[in-house]
Symmetry: C2
Subunit: 325 residues, 2 copies
Amino acid sequence: MNNSNSYRDKYFIAGIDIGGTSTVIGLVDNNNQIVQRKAIHTATYEYAEAFFNEICDIIKNFDQLSDISLLKGIGIGAPNGNYYKGTIEFAANLRWKGVIPVVEIIQQKLPEVPVILTNDANAAAIGEMMYGDAKDKKDFIMITLGTGVGSGIVVNGELVYGHDGFAGEIGHTIYNPNGRLCGCGRKGCLETYTSASGIVKTAVELLIRKSDDSELRNIPIDELTTLHIGNAANRGDKIAIETFDITAEILAVKLADSVAHTSPSAIYIFGGVANAGAVLLEPLTTYFEENLLQIFKNKIQIKTSALPQNDAAILGAAALIKKEL
Amino acid sequence: MNNSNSYRDKYFIAGIDIGGTSTVIGLVDNNNQIVQRKAIHTATYEYAEAFFNEICDIIKNFDQLSDISLLKGIGIGAPNGNYYKGTIEFAANLRWKGVIPVVEIIQQKLPEVPVILTNDANAAAIGEMMYGDAKDKKDFIMITLGTGVGSGIVVNGELVYGHDGFAGEIGHTIYNPNGRLCGCGRKGCLETYTSASGIVKTAVELLIRKSDDSELRNIPIDELTTLHIGNAANRGDKIAIETFDITAEILAVKLADSVAHTSPSAIYIFGGVANAGAVLLEPLTTYFEENLLQIFKNKIQIKTSALPQNDAAILGAAALIKKEL
Protein backbone atom coordinates (compact mmCIF):
# COMPACT_ATOMS: atom_id res chain seq x y z
CA MET A 1 0.00 0.00 0.00
CA ASN A 2 2.71 2.42 1.05
CA ASN A 3 5.71 2.57 -1.26
CA SER A 4 7.51 5.39 0.49
CA ASN A 5 11.21 4.94 1.13
CA SER A 6 11.54 2.54 4.08
CA TYR A 7 14.80 4.20 5.15
CA ARG A 8 13.03 7.51 5.56
CA ASP A 9 10.20 5.84 7.55
CA LYS A 10 12.60 4.02 9.85
CA TYR A 11 11.85 4.51 13.53
CA PHE A 12 12.53 2.86 16.86
CA ILE A 13 10.71 2.13 20.11
CA ALA A 14 12.45 1.23 23.36
CA GLY A 15 10.80 -1.74 25.10
CA ILE A 16 11.80 -2.22 28.72
CA ASP A 17 11.08 -5.28 30.83
CA ILE A 18 11.66 -4.59 34.52
CA GLY A 19 11.91 -7.68 36.69
CA GLY A 20 12.71 -8.13 40.36
CA THR A 21 16.10 -9.58 39.45
CA SER A 22 17.07 -8.15 36.11
CA THR A 23 15.86 -5.57 33.64
CA VAL A 24 16.21 -5.75 29.87
CA ILE A 25 16.20 -2.68 27.66
CA GLY A 26 15.50 -3.48 24.01
CA LEU A 27 15.53 -1.32 20.90
CA VAL A 28 12.72 -2.39 18.56
CA ASP A 29 12.58 -1.19 14.96
CA ASN A 30 9.50 -0.48 12.83
CA ASN A 31 9.56 -4.10 11.60
CA ASN A 32 9.12 -5.31 15.21
CA GLN A 33 12.69 -6.63 15.29
CA ILE A 34 14.72 -6.24 18.47
CA VAL A 35 17.87 -4.80 16.93
CA GLN A 36 19.78 -4.19 20.15
CA ARG A 37 19.36 -5.07 23.81
CA LYS A 38 21.09 -4.67 27.15
CA ALA A 39 20.41 -6.21 30.56
CA ILE A 40 21.12 -4.67 33.97
CA HIS A 41 20.65 -5.99 37.50
CA THR A 42 17.59 -4.30 38.99
CA ALA A 43 18.40 -5.19 42.56
CA THR A 44 21.82 -3.48 42.60
CA TYR A 45 20.25 0.00 42.28
CA GLU A 46 19.53 1.44 45.71
CA TYR A 47 17.61 4.41 44.30
CA ALA A 48 14.93 4.29 41.61
CA GLU A 49 16.10 7.60 40.14
CA ALA A 50 19.63 6.26 39.54
CA PHE A 51 18.15 3.13 37.97
CA PHE A 52 15.94 5.02 35.50
CA ASN A 53 18.70 7.51 34.68
CA GLU A 54 20.92 4.55 33.80
CA ILE A 55 18.16 3.21 31.53
CA CYS A 56 17.92 6.59 29.75
CA ASP A 57 21.69 6.58 29.23
CA ILE A 58 21.60 3.05 27.81
CA ILE A 59 18.86 4.04 25.34
CA LYS A 60 20.70 7.18 24.24
CA ASN A 61 23.89 5.17 23.74
CA PHE A 62 22.38 2.39 21.60
CA ASP A 63 24.54 2.32 18.41
CA GLN A 64 21.56 1.58 16.21
CA LEU A 65 19.76 4.71 17.39
CA SER A 66 21.71 7.19 15.29
CA ASP A 67 19.44 10.09 16.23
CA ILE A 68 17.22 10.38 19.31
CA SER A 69 14.49 11.91 17.12
CA LEU A 70 14.02 8.42 15.60
CA LEU A 71 12.86 7.17 19.01
CA LYS A 72 9.05 7.26 18.92
CA GLY A 73 8.54 6.27 22.51
CA ILE A 74 9.48 4.16 25.51
CA GLY A 75 7.19 1.33 26.62
CA ILE A 76 7.76 -0.20 30.03
CA GLY A 77 6.50 -3.35 31.70
CA ALA A 78 7.12 -3.30 35.45
CA PRO A 79 5.83 -5.07 38.58
CA ASN A 80 2.86 -3.01 39.89
CA GLY A 81 3.24 -0.66 36.98
CA ASN A 82 0.26 1.71 36.69
CA TYR A 83 -0.92 2.46 33.18
CA TYR A 84 -3.01 5.47 34.17
CA LYS A 85 -0.51 7.18 36.47
CA GLY A 86 2.85 6.12 35.00
CA THR A 87 4.03 4.94 38.39
CA ILE A 88 5.33 1.82 40.08
CA GLU A 89 3.53 1.49 43.42
CA PHE A 90 4.31 -0.75 46.38
CA ALA A 91 6.03 -3.45 44.32
CA ALA A 92 6.80 -6.37 46.62
CA ASN A 93 9.70 -7.62 44.48
CA LEU A 94 11.52 -4.32 43.96
CA ARG A 95 13.67 -2.69 46.62
CA TRP A 96 12.18 0.79 46.02
CA LYS A 97 9.16 1.14 48.28
CA GLY A 98 6.19 3.49 48.01
CA VAL A 99 5.23 5.27 44.80
CA ILE A 100 7.87 5.72 42.08
CA PRO A 101 6.93 8.35 39.45
CA VAL A 102 8.64 6.46 36.62
CA VAL A 103 7.31 8.42 33.64
CA GLU A 104 8.15 11.72 35.36
CA ILE A 105 11.72 10.62 36.12
CA ILE A 106 12.34 9.48 32.54
CA GLN A 107 10.80 12.57 31.00
CA GLN A 108 13.20 14.76 32.97
CA LYS A 109 16.04 13.07 31.09
CA LEU A 110 14.23 12.56 27.77
CA PRO A 111 11.58 15.29 27.66
CA GLU A 112 10.60 14.81 24.00
CA VAL A 113 9.88 11.08 24.18
CA PRO A 114 6.42 9.63 25.06
CA VAL A 115 6.59 7.06 27.87
CA ILE A 116 3.90 4.47 28.62
CA LEU A 117 4.11 2.06 31.52
CA THR A 118 2.10 -0.95 32.58
CA ASN A 119 2.29 -4.11 34.63
CA ASP A 120 5.02 -6.45 33.30
CA ALA A 121 2.50 -9.23 32.82
CA ASN A 122 0.15 -6.89 30.94
CA ALA A 123 3.04 -6.08 28.60
CA ALA A 124 3.63 -9.81 28.06
CA ALA A 125 -0.11 -10.28 27.33
CA ILE A 126 -0.02 -7.49 24.73
CA GLY A 127 3.07 -9.16 23.25
CA GLU A 128 1.22 -12.48 23.01
CA MET A 129 -1.79 -10.74 21.45
CA MET A 130 0.23 -8.80 18.85
CA TYR A 131 2.93 -11.31 17.96
CA GLY A 132 2.14 -14.67 19.55
CA ASP A 133 -0.49 -17.37 19.87
CA ALA A 134 -3.27 -15.03 21.06
CA LYS A 135 -3.61 -13.14 17.78
CA ASP A 136 -7.12 -14.49 17.20
CA LYS A 137 -8.16 -14.60 20.87
CA LYS A 138 -10.47 -12.05 22.49
CA ASP A 139 -10.47 -13.53 26.00
CA PHE A 140 -7.30 -14.93 27.52
CA ILE A 141 -5.06 -14.71 30.57
CA MET A 142 -1.27 -14.46 30.66
CA ILE A 143 0.39 -15.75 33.84
CA THR A 144 4.04 -14.90 34.38
CA LEU A 145 5.96 -17.18 36.73
CA GLY A 146 9.32 -15.72 37.72
CA THR A 147 10.68 -13.80 40.71
CA GLY A 148 7.05 -12.84 41.21
CA VAL A 149 3.80 -14.14 39.77
CA GLY A 150 2.00 -11.63 37.55
CA SER A 151 -0.95 -11.71 35.21
CA GLY A 152 -2.45 -9.85 32.30
CA ILE A 153 -6.16 -10.38 31.72
CA VAL A 154 -7.67 -9.72 28.29
CA VAL A 155 -11.46 -9.41 28.01
CA ASN A 156 -13.19 -8.93 24.68
CA GLY A 157 -9.89 -7.98 23.01
CA GLU A 158 -8.90 -5.34 25.57
CA LEU A 159 -6.50 -5.49 28.50
CA VAL A 160 -8.30 -5.15 31.82
CA TYR A 161 -6.77 -2.18 33.69
CA GLY A 162 -9.54 -1.72 36.28
CA HIS A 163 -10.71 1.54 37.79
CA ASP A 164 -7.21 2.44 39.03
CA GLY A 165 -4.90 0.79 36.48
CA PHE A 166 -3.89 -2.06 38.84
CA ALA A 167 -6.09 -4.94 37.65
CA GLY A 168 -4.51 -8.32 36.95
CA GLU A 169 -2.78 -9.31 40.20
CA ILE A 170 -3.64 -13.01 40.22
CA GLY A 171 -0.27 -13.70 41.90
CA HIS A 172 -1.70 -11.96 44.95
CA THR A 173 -4.91 -13.92 45.24
CA ILE A 174 -4.91 -16.01 48.40
CA TYR A 175 -4.30 -19.76 48.21
CA ASN A 176 -4.08 -20.31 51.97
CA PRO A 177 -4.99 -17.52 54.44
CA ASN A 178 -2.67 -19.14 57.00
CA GLY A 179 0.05 -19.92 54.50
CA ARG A 180 3.51 -18.61 53.65
CA LEU A 181 4.35 -14.97 54.33
CA CYS A 182 4.33 -12.97 51.09
CA GLY A 183 6.48 -9.99 50.11
CA CYS A 184 3.22 -8.00 49.97
CA GLY A 185 2.82 -8.40 53.73
CA ARG A 186 -0.08 -10.84 53.59
CA LYS A 187 -0.12 -14.62 53.92
CA GLY A 188 -0.58 -17.45 51.46
CA CYS A 189 -0.62 -15.53 48.16
CA LEU A 190 -0.35 -17.70 45.03
CA GLU A 191 3.05 -16.07 44.44
CA THR A 192 4.49 -17.60 47.63
CA TYR A 193 3.96 -21.07 46.12
CA THR A 194 4.42 -20.69 42.37
CA SER A 195 7.14 -18.05 42.01
CA ALA A 196 10.70 -19.27 41.54
CA SER A 197 11.50 -18.89 45.25
CA GLY A 198 8.13 -20.42 46.21
CA ILE A 199 8.92 -23.55 44.21
CA VAL A 200 12.37 -23.80 45.79
CA LYS A 201 10.71 -23.57 49.24
CA THR A 202 8.36 -26.43 48.32
CA ALA A 203 11.35 -28.54 47.20
CA VAL A 204 13.23 -27.84 50.45
CA GLU A 205 10.14 -28.73 52.52
CA LEU A 206 9.93 -32.06 50.67
CA LEU A 207 13.68 -32.72 51.11
CA ILE A 208 13.23 -32.24 54.85
CA ARG A 209 9.98 -34.17 55.18
CA LYS A 210 10.81 -37.13 52.94
CA SER A 211 13.62 -39.65 52.89
CA ASP A 212 13.75 -40.33 49.13
CA ASP A 213 17.11 -40.05 47.40
CA SER A 214 17.34 -36.86 45.37
CA GLU A 215 20.07 -35.15 43.39
CA LEU A 216 18.76 -31.91 44.91
CA ARG A 217 20.27 -32.99 48.24
CA ASN A 218 23.74 -32.36 46.72
CA ILE A 219 23.02 -28.66 46.14
CA PRO A 220 23.35 -26.15 49.00
CA ILE A 221 19.85 -24.81 49.82
CA ASP A 222 20.86 -21.22 49.14
CA GLU A 223 21.99 -22.15 45.64
CA LEU A 224 18.98 -24.26 44.71
CA THR A 225 16.99 -22.88 41.74
CA THR A 226 13.95 -23.91 39.69
CA LEU A 227 16.39 -24.78 36.91
CA HIS A 228 18.00 -27.44 39.13
CA ILE A 229 14.57 -28.73 40.13
CA GLY A 230 13.33 -28.74 36.53
CA ASN A 231 16.40 -30.61 35.29
CA ALA A 232 16.15 -33.12 38.14
CA ALA A 233 12.44 -33.66 37.44
CA ASN A 234 13.19 -34.29 33.77
CA ARG A 235 15.70 -36.96 34.87
CA GLY A 236 13.01 -38.67 36.99
CA ASP A 237 13.99 -37.33 40.44
CA LYS A 238 10.99 -38.12 42.69
CA ILE A 239 11.32 -35.09 44.99
CA ALA A 240 11.67 -32.73 42.02
CA ILE A 241 8.67 -34.28 40.26
CA GLU A 242 6.59 -33.98 43.43
CA THR A 243 7.68 -30.35 43.78
CA PHE A 244 6.20 -29.52 40.37
CA ASP A 245 3.15 -31.65 41.10
CA ILE A 246 2.37 -29.62 44.24
CA THR A 247 3.11 -26.37 42.40
CA ALA A 248 0.83 -27.40 39.54
CA GLU A 249 -2.03 -28.31 41.87
CA ILE A 250 -1.90 -24.96 43.70
CA LEU A 251 -1.68 -23.01 40.43
CA ALA A 252 -4.56 -25.06 38.99
CA VAL A 253 -6.88 -24.30 41.92
CA LYS A 254 -6.27 -20.56 41.57
CA LEU A 255 -6.48 -20.55 37.76
CA ALA A 256 -9.85 -22.31 38.02
CA ASP A 257 -10.93 -19.33 40.18
CA SER A 258 -9.67 -16.95 37.50
CA VAL A 259 -11.68 -18.77 34.85
CA ALA A 260 -14.79 -18.29 37.03
CA HIS A 261 -14.16 -14.54 36.77
CA THR A 262 -13.52 -13.84 33.08
CA SER A 263 -13.94 -17.19 31.29
CA PRO A 264 -10.92 -17.01 28.95
CA SER A 265 -10.49 -19.39 25.99
CA ALA A 266 -6.79 -19.81 26.79
CA ILE A 267 -4.31 -19.34 29.61
CA TYR A 268 -0.65 -18.80 28.75
CA ILE A 269 2.14 -19.62 31.17
CA PHE A 270 5.21 -17.50 30.73
CA GLY A 271 8.54 -16.80 32.44
CA GLY A 272 11.48 -18.70 33.87
CA VAL A 273 9.44 -21.29 35.74
CA ALA A 274 7.39 -22.12 32.62
CA ASN A 275 10.62 -23.37 31.00
CA ALA A 276 10.42 -26.50 33.15
CA GLY A 277 8.07 -27.76 30.42
CA ALA A 278 5.99 -30.92 30.67
CA VAL A 279 6.90 -31.65 34.32
CA LEU A 280 4.86 -28.55 35.17
CA LEU A 281 2.38 -28.37 32.28
CA GLU A 282 1.16 -31.97 32.37
CA PRO A 283 0.07 -32.06 36.03
CA LEU A 284 -1.16 -28.46 35.65
CA THR A 285 -3.50 -29.45 32.81
CA THR A 286 -4.82 -32.44 34.78
CA TYR A 287 -5.43 -30.52 38.02
CA PHE A 288 -6.84 -27.56 36.11
CA GLU A 289 -9.54 -29.69 34.46
CA GLU A 290 -10.29 -31.38 37.80
CA ASN A 291 -10.82 -28.04 39.49
CA LEU A 292 -12.93 -26.31 36.84
CA LEU A 293 -16.64 -25.74 37.29
CA GLN A 294 -18.58 -28.13 35.00
CA ILE A 295 -19.51 -25.43 32.44
CA PHE A 296 -15.82 -24.60 31.86
CA LYS A 297 -14.44 -28.13 31.49
CA ASN A 298 -12.70 -29.31 28.29
CA LYS A 299 -12.76 -26.01 26.48
CA ILE A 300 -9.95 -23.88 27.86
CA GLN A 301 -6.43 -24.25 26.50
CA ILE A 302 -3.59 -24.03 28.99
CA LYS A 303 -0.17 -23.75 27.40
CA THR A 304 3.19 -22.08 27.46
CA SER A 305 3.57 -18.76 25.66
CA ALA A 306 4.44 -19.00 21.97
CA LEU A 307 6.87 -16.10 22.26
CA PRO A 308 10.60 -16.41 22.84
CA GLN A 309 10.92 -15.67 26.55
CA ASN A 310 13.53 -12.99 26.06
CA ASP A 311 11.47 -11.12 23.46
CA ALA A 312 7.84 -11.18 24.61
CA ALA A 313 8.07 -8.64 27.41
CA ILE A 314 10.21 -6.25 25.34
CA LEU A 315 7.93 -6.51 22.31
CA GLY A 316 4.86 -6.19 24.52
CA ALA A 317 6.26 -3.08 26.19
CA ALA A 318 7.14 -1.63 22.77
CA ALA A 319 3.62 -2.47 21.55
CA LEU A 320 2.20 -0.09 24.18
CA ILE A 321 3.76 2.72 22.13
CA LYS A 322 3.09 1.14 18.74
CA LYS A 323 -0.65 1.06 19.50
CA GLU A 324 -0.57 4.85 19.95
CA LEU A 325 1.33 5.64 16.74
CA MET B 1 -37.22 16.37 21.83
CA ASN B 2 -39.94 13.97 20.73
CA ASN B 3 -43.48 15.28 21.08
CA SER B 4 -45.23 12.34 19.48
CA ASN B 5 -48.23 10.94 21.27
CA SER B 6 -46.92 8.87 24.20
CA TYR B 7 -49.94 6.57 23.99
CA ARG B 8 -49.01 5.63 20.45
CA ASP B 9 -45.35 5.01 21.51
CA LYS B 10 -46.31 2.85 24.47
CA TYR B 11 -44.52 -0.49 24.59
CA PHE B 12 -43.66 -3.21 27.07
CA ILE B 13 -40.78 -5.53 27.88
CA ALA B 14 -41.09 -8.66 29.99
CA GLY B 15 -38.30 -8.94 32.57
CA ILE B 16 -37.93 -12.37 34.16
CA ASP B 17 -35.85 -13.20 37.22
CA ILE B 18 -35.37 -16.95 37.60
CA GLY B 19 -34.14 -18.05 41.01
CA GLY B 20 -33.58 -21.46 42.52
CA THR B 21 -36.63 -21.00 44.74
CA SER B 22 -38.95 -18.59 42.98
CA THR B 23 -39.24 -16.84 39.64
CA VAL B 24 -40.74 -13.40 39.09
CA ILE B 25 -42.19 -12.32 35.75
CA GLY B 26 -42.51 -8.55 35.44
CA LEU B 27 -44.08 -6.37 32.77
CA VAL B 28 -42.01 -3.21 32.33
CA ASP B 29 -43.33 -0.23 30.37
CA ASN B 30 -41.38 2.25 28.23
CA ASN B 31 -40.93 4.49 31.32
CA ASN B 32 -39.08 1.66 33.10
CA GLN B 33 -41.99 1.11 35.48
CA ILE B 34 -42.93 -2.41 36.48
CA VAL B 35 -46.65 -2.20 35.82
CA GLN B 36 -47.53 -5.80 36.62
CA ARG B 37 -45.75 -8.79 38.10
CA LYS B 38 -46.35 -12.40 39.05
CA ALA B 39 -44.26 -14.91 41.01
CA ILE B 40 -44.18 -18.69 40.60
CA HIS B 41 -42.30 -21.42 42.46
CA THR B 42 -39.45 -22.56 40.25
CA ALA B 43 -38.81 -25.78 42.12
CA THR B 44 -42.32 -27.16 41.65
CA TYR B 45 -41.86 -27.57 37.89
CA GLU B 46 -40.44 -30.99 37.10
CA TYR B 47 -39.86 -30.16 33.42
CA ALA B 48 -38.24 -27.00 32.08
CA GLU B 49 -40.58 -26.93 29.09
CA ALA B 50 -43.68 -26.82 31.32
CA PHE B 51 -42.08 -24.07 33.36
CA PHE B 52 -41.32 -21.85 30.36
CA ASN B 53 -44.69 -22.53 28.78
CA GLU B 54 -46.31 -21.34 32.01
CA ILE B 55 -44.18 -18.18 31.84
CA CYS B 56 -45.36 -17.51 28.27
CA ASP B 57 -48.98 -17.95 29.37
CA ILE B 58 -48.49 -15.53 32.25
CA ILE B 59 -47.02 -12.89 29.92
CA LYS B 60 -49.83 -13.29 27.38
CA ASN B 61 -52.43 -13.00 30.14
CA PHE B 62 -51.05 -9.81 31.72
CA ASP B 63 -54.04 -7.37 31.78
CA GLN B 64 -51.84 -4.39 31.01
CA LEU B 65 -50.57 -6.01 27.83
CA SER B 66 -53.64 -5.33 25.70
CA ASP B 67 -51.95 -6.52 22.51
CA ILE B 68 -48.99 -8.93 22.21
CA SER B 69 -47.60 -6.72 19.43
CA LEU B 70 -46.81 -4.12 22.14
CA LEU B 71 -44.32 -6.60 23.69
CA LYS B 72 -40.88 -5.63 22.36
CA GLY B 73 -39.02 -8.50 23.91
CA ILE B 74 -38.40 -10.83 26.83
CA GLY B 75 -35.25 -10.42 28.94
CA ILE B 76 -34.31 -13.22 31.31
CA GLY B 77 -31.84 -13.48 34.17
CA ALA B 78 -31.23 -17.09 35.17
CA PRO B 79 -28.60 -19.12 37.08
CA ASN B 80 -25.96 -20.24 34.53
CA GLY B 81 -27.82 -18.38 31.82
CA ASN B 82 -25.75 -18.15 28.65
CA TYR B 83 -25.98 -14.85 26.79
CA TYR B 84 -24.48 -16.19 23.56
CA LYS B 85 -26.44 -19.43 23.32
CA GLY B 86 -29.73 -18.56 25.03
CA THR B 87 -29.44 -21.61 27.25
CA ILE B 88 -29.32 -22.50 30.93
CA GLU B 89 -26.52 -25.03 31.40
CA PHE B 90 -25.74 -27.25 34.39
CA ALA B 91 -27.32 -24.93 36.97
CA ALA B 92 -26.61 -26.34 40.41
CA ASN B 93 -29.64 -24.67 42.00
CA LEU B 94 -32.26 -25.67 39.44
CA ARG B 95 -33.80 -29.13 39.22
CA TRP B 96 -33.48 -29.31 35.41
CA LYS B 97 -30.06 -30.77 34.63
CA GLY B 98 -27.97 -30.53 31.46
CA VAL B 99 -28.55 -27.89 28.80
CA ILE B 100 -31.96 -26.16 28.62
CA PRO B 101 -32.59 -24.33 25.28
CA VAL B 102 -34.60 -21.56 26.94
CA VAL B 103 -34.82 -19.10 24.04
CA GLU B 104 -35.82 -21.89 21.66
CA ILE B 105 -38.60 -23.13 24.00
CA ILE B 106 -40.03 -19.63 24.44
CA GLN B 107 -39.87 -18.81 20.74
CA GLN B 108 -41.97 -21.88 19.96
CA LYS B 109 -44.77 -20.32 22.02
CA LEU B 110 -44.06 -16.65 21.13
CA PRO B 111 -42.33 -16.77 17.74
CA GLU B 112 -42.50 -13.02 17.05
CA VAL B 113 -40.88 -11.84 20.29
CA PRO B 114 -37.10 -11.37 20.70
CA VAL B 115 -35.70 -13.20 23.75
CA ILE B 116 -32.36 -12.43 25.45
CA LEU B 117 -31.04 -14.42 28.38
CA THR B 118 -28.11 -13.98 30.74
CA ASN B 119 -26.87 -14.95 34.17
CA ASP B 120 -29.24 -13.64 36.89
CA ALA B 121 -26.41 -11.72 38.54
CA ASN B 122 -25.44 -10.16 35.19
CA ALA B 123 -29.02 -8.95 34.85
CA ALA B 124 -28.83 -7.42 38.35
CA ALA B 125 -25.54 -5.72 37.40
CA ILE B 126 -27.13 -4.22 34.30
CA GLY B 127 -30.03 -3.08 36.48
CA GLU B 128 -27.60 -1.37 38.89
CA MET B 129 -25.77 0.26 35.97
CA MET B 130 -28.93 1.55 34.25
CA TYR B 131 -31.09 2.50 37.22
CA GLY B 132 -29.04 2.27 40.42
CA ASP B 133 -25.87 3.45 42.12
CA ALA B 134 -23.51 2.30 39.34
CA LYS B 135 -24.72 4.81 36.73
CA ASP B 136 -21.35 6.60 36.72
CA LYS B 137 -19.19 3.51 37.32
CA LYS B 138 -17.16 1.80 34.61
CA ASP B 139 -15.69 -0.99 36.76
CA PHE B 140 -17.76 -2.71 39.40
CA ILE B 141 -18.89 -6.11 40.62
CA MET B 142 -22.38 -7.18 41.63
CA ILE B 143 -22.57 -10.10 44.07
CA THR B 144 -25.93 -11.75 44.60
CA LEU B 145 -26.39 -13.67 47.84
CA GLY B 146 -29.48 -15.83 47.79
CA THR B 147 -30.25 -19.50 47.15
CA GLY B 148 -26.98 -19.40 45.21
CA VAL B 149 -24.14 -16.89 45.03
CA GLY B 150 -23.83 -15.20 41.65
CA SER B 151 -21.86 -12.31 40.25
CA GLY B 152 -21.88 -9.86 37.38
CA ILE B 153 -18.54 -8.27 36.54
CA VAL B 154 -18.42 -4.96 34.68
CA VAL B 155 -15.12 -3.88 33.11
CA ASN B 156 -14.74 -0.54 31.37
CA GLY B 157 -18.52 -0.11 31.17
CA GLU B 158 -19.24 -3.52 29.64
CA LEU B 159 -20.45 -6.74 31.20
CA VAL B 160 -17.82 -9.47 31.09
CA TYR B 161 -19.33 -12.47 29.26
CA GLY B 162 -16.08 -14.34 28.54
CA HIS B 163 -15.31 -16.46 25.50
CA ASP B 164 -18.34 -18.71 26.09
CA GLY B 165 -20.86 -16.40 27.77
CA PHE B 166 -20.34 -17.93 31.24
CA ALA B 167 -18.01 -15.41 32.91
CA GLY B 168 -18.86 -14.11 36.38
CA GLU B 169 -19.15 -17.20 38.57
CA ILE B 170 -17.47 -15.85 41.71
CA GLY B 171 -19.85 -17.98 43.81
CA HIS B 172 -17.98 -20.99 42.44
CA THR B 173 -14.48 -19.87 43.28
CA ILE B 174 -12.95 -22.12 45.92
CA TYR B 175 -12.66 -20.93 49.51
CA ASN B 176 -11.51 -24.27 50.95
CA PRO B 177 -10.57 -27.18 48.66
CA ASN B 178 -11.48 -29.60 51.48
CA GLY B 179 -14.58 -27.71 52.52
CA ARG B 180 -18.32 -28.17 52.22
CA LEU B 181 -19.77 -30.13 49.30
CA CYS B 182 -21.27 -27.77 46.71
CA GLY B 183 -24.28 -28.32 44.46
CA CYS B 184 -21.83 -28.02 41.54
CA GLY B 185 -20.14 -31.27 42.63
CA ARG B 186 -16.94 -29.68 43.91
CA LYS B 187 -15.89 -28.79 47.44
CA GLY B 188 -15.57 -25.52 49.34
CA CYS B 189 -17.07 -23.08 46.81
CA LEU B 190 -17.81 -19.61 48.18
CA GLU B 191 -21.49 -20.38 47.64
CA THR B 192 -21.42 -23.19 50.23
CA TYR B 193 -20.58 -20.59 52.91
CA THR B 194 -22.31 -17.38 51.85
CA SER B 195 -25.55 -18.52 50.21
CA ALA B 196 -28.67 -18.57 52.38
CA SER B 197 -28.30 -22.28 53.12
CA GLY B 198 -24.54 -21.88 53.69
CA ILE B 199 -25.14 -19.25 56.35
CA VAL B 200 -27.73 -21.46 58.05
CA LYS B 201 -25.15 -24.30 58.08
CA THR B 202 -22.61 -22.01 59.75
CA ALA B 203 -25.18 -21.03 62.40
CA VAL B 204 -26.02 -24.68 63.10
CA GLU B 205 -22.32 -25.55 63.39
CA LEU B 206 -21.92 -22.76 65.97
CA LEU B 207 -25.04 -23.86 67.89
CA ILE B 208 -23.57 -27.36 68.15
CA ARG B 209 -20.02 -26.28 68.95
CA LYS B 210 -20.78 -23.48 71.44
CA SER B 211 -22.77 -23.34 74.65
CA ASP B 212 -23.94 -19.69 74.44
CA ASP B 213 -27.63 -19.00 74.87
CA SER B 214 -29.25 -18.18 71.56
CA GLU B 215 -32.82 -17.58 70.41
CA LEU B 216 -31.89 -19.65 67.36
CA ARG B 217 -31.96 -22.74 69.61
CA ASN B 218 -35.76 -22.38 69.80
CA ILE B 219 -36.17 -22.83 66.04
CA PRO B 220 -36.17 -26.33 64.49
CA ILE B 221 -33.03 -26.66 62.33
CA ASP B 222 -35.04 -27.40 59.18
CA GLU B 223 -36.97 -24.17 59.60
CA LEU B 224 -34.01 -21.90 60.35
CA THR B 225 -33.49 -19.14 57.75
CA THR B 226 -31.13 -16.21 57.28
CA LEU B 227 -34.05 -13.96 58.22
CA HIS B 228 -34.17 -15.57 61.69
CA ILE B 229 -30.40 -15.25 61.99
CA GLY B 230 -30.42 -11.63 60.79
CA ASN B 231 -33.18 -10.65 63.21
CA ALA B 232 -31.42 -12.43 66.09
CA ALA B 233 -28.12 -10.71 65.24
CA ASN B 234 -29.84 -7.33 65.22
CA ARG B 235 -31.16 -8.12 68.74
CA GLY B 236 -27.59 -8.89 69.92
CA ASP B 237 -27.67 -12.70 69.76
CA LYS B 238 -24.01 -13.80 70.03
CA ILE B 239 -24.31 -16.93 67.90
CA ALA B 240 -26.15 -15.02 65.17
CA ILE B 241 -23.60 -12.21 65.22
CA GLU B 242 -20.73 -14.71 64.99
CA THR B 243 -22.50 -16.44 62.09
CA PHE B 244 -22.45 -13.20 60.09
CA ASP B 245 -18.90 -12.48 61.22
CA ILE B 246 -17.67 -15.81 59.83
CA THR B 247 -19.72 -15.32 56.64
CA ALA B 248 -18.30 -11.82 56.20
CA GLU B 249 -14.71 -12.99 56.65
CA ILE B 250 -15.06 -15.75 54.04
CA LEU B 251 -16.79 -13.40 51.58
CA ALA B 252 -14.11 -10.75 52.20
CA VAL B 253 -11.23 -13.12 51.41
CA LYS B 254 -12.79 -14.10 48.09
CA LEU B 255 -13.85 -10.56 47.15
CA ALA B 256 -10.25 -9.44 47.75
CA ASP B 257 -9.29 -12.10 45.17
CA SER B 258 -11.88 -10.69 42.77
CA VAL B 259 -10.45 -7.19 43.19
CA ALA B 260 -7.03 -8.59 42.25
CA HIS B 261 -8.59 -9.69 38.95
CA THR B 262 -10.54 -6.67 37.66
CA SER B 263 -9.94 -3.87 40.21
CA PRO B 264 -13.49 -2.50 40.49
CA SER B 265 -14.25 0.86 42.15
CA ALA B 266 -17.28 -0.64 43.89
CA ILE B 267 -18.75 -3.97 44.90
CA TYR B 268 -22.51 -4.23 45.38
CA ILE B 269 -24.09 -6.87 47.59
CA PHE B 270 -27.56 -7.86 46.54
CA GLY B 271 -30.22 -10.46 47.34
CA GLY B 272 -32.01 -11.89 50.35
CA VAL B 273 -28.91 -12.30 52.51
CA ALA B 274 -27.83 -8.68 51.91
CA ASN B 275 -31.02 -7.57 53.74
CA ALA B 276 -29.38 -8.54 57.03
CA GLY B 277 -27.80 -5.06 56.80
CA ALA B 278 -25.05 -3.81 59.10
CA VAL B 279 -24.52 -7.15 60.89
CA LEU B 280 -23.13 -8.41 57.57
CA LEU B 281 -21.84 -5.21 55.95
CA GLU B 282 -19.81 -3.88 58.88
CA PRO B 283 -17.62 -6.95 59.45
CA LEU B 284 -17.49 -7.43 55.66
CA THR B 285 -16.01 -3.95 55.16
CA THR B 286 -13.45 -4.50 57.93
CA TYR B 287 -12.31 -7.94 56.72
CA PHE B 288 -12.35 -6.77 53.10
CA GLU B 289 -9.90 -3.93 53.81
CA GLU B 290 -7.72 -6.29 55.89
CA ASN B 291 -7.50 -8.77 53.03
CA LEU B 292 -6.84 -6.37 50.17
CA LEU B 293 -3.45 -6.06 48.56
CA GLN B 294 -1.83 -2.74 49.61
CA ILE B 295 -2.46 -1.01 46.27
CA PHE B 296 -6.22 -1.63 46.54
CA LYS B 297 -6.76 -0.52 50.14
CA ASN B 298 -9.09 2.37 51.07
CA LYS B 299 -10.42 3.02 47.60
CA ILE B 300 -13.06 0.40 46.86
CA GLN B 301 -16.63 0.93 48.03
CA ILE B 302 -18.47 -2.11 49.31
CA LYS B 303 -22.19 -1.57 49.79
CA THR B 304 -25.66 -2.95 49.34
CA SER B 305 -27.37 -2.42 46.01
CA ALA B 306 -29.31 0.83 45.68
CA LEU B 307 -32.13 -0.92 43.85
CA PRO B 308 -35.29 -2.27 45.48
CA GLN B 309 -34.57 -5.97 45.73
CA ASN B 310 -37.76 -6.99 44.01
CA ASP B 311 -37.16 -4.70 41.05
CA ALA B 312 -33.45 -4.87 40.19
CA ALA B 313 -33.37 -8.28 38.56
CA ILE B 314 -36.58 -7.63 36.60
CA LEU B 315 -35.42 -4.20 35.41
CA GLY B 316 -31.97 -5.61 34.63
CA ALA B 317 -33.47 -8.44 32.59
CA ALA B 318 -35.73 -5.95 30.77
CA ALA B 319 -32.69 -3.71 30.15
CA LEU B 320 -31.12 -6.54 28.09
CA ILE B 321 -33.90 -5.89 25.55
CA LYS B 322 -33.98 -2.13 26.02
CA LYS B 323 -30.29 -1.90 25.05
CA GLU B 324 -31.15 -3.51 21.70
CA LEU B 325 -34.12 -1.24 20.86
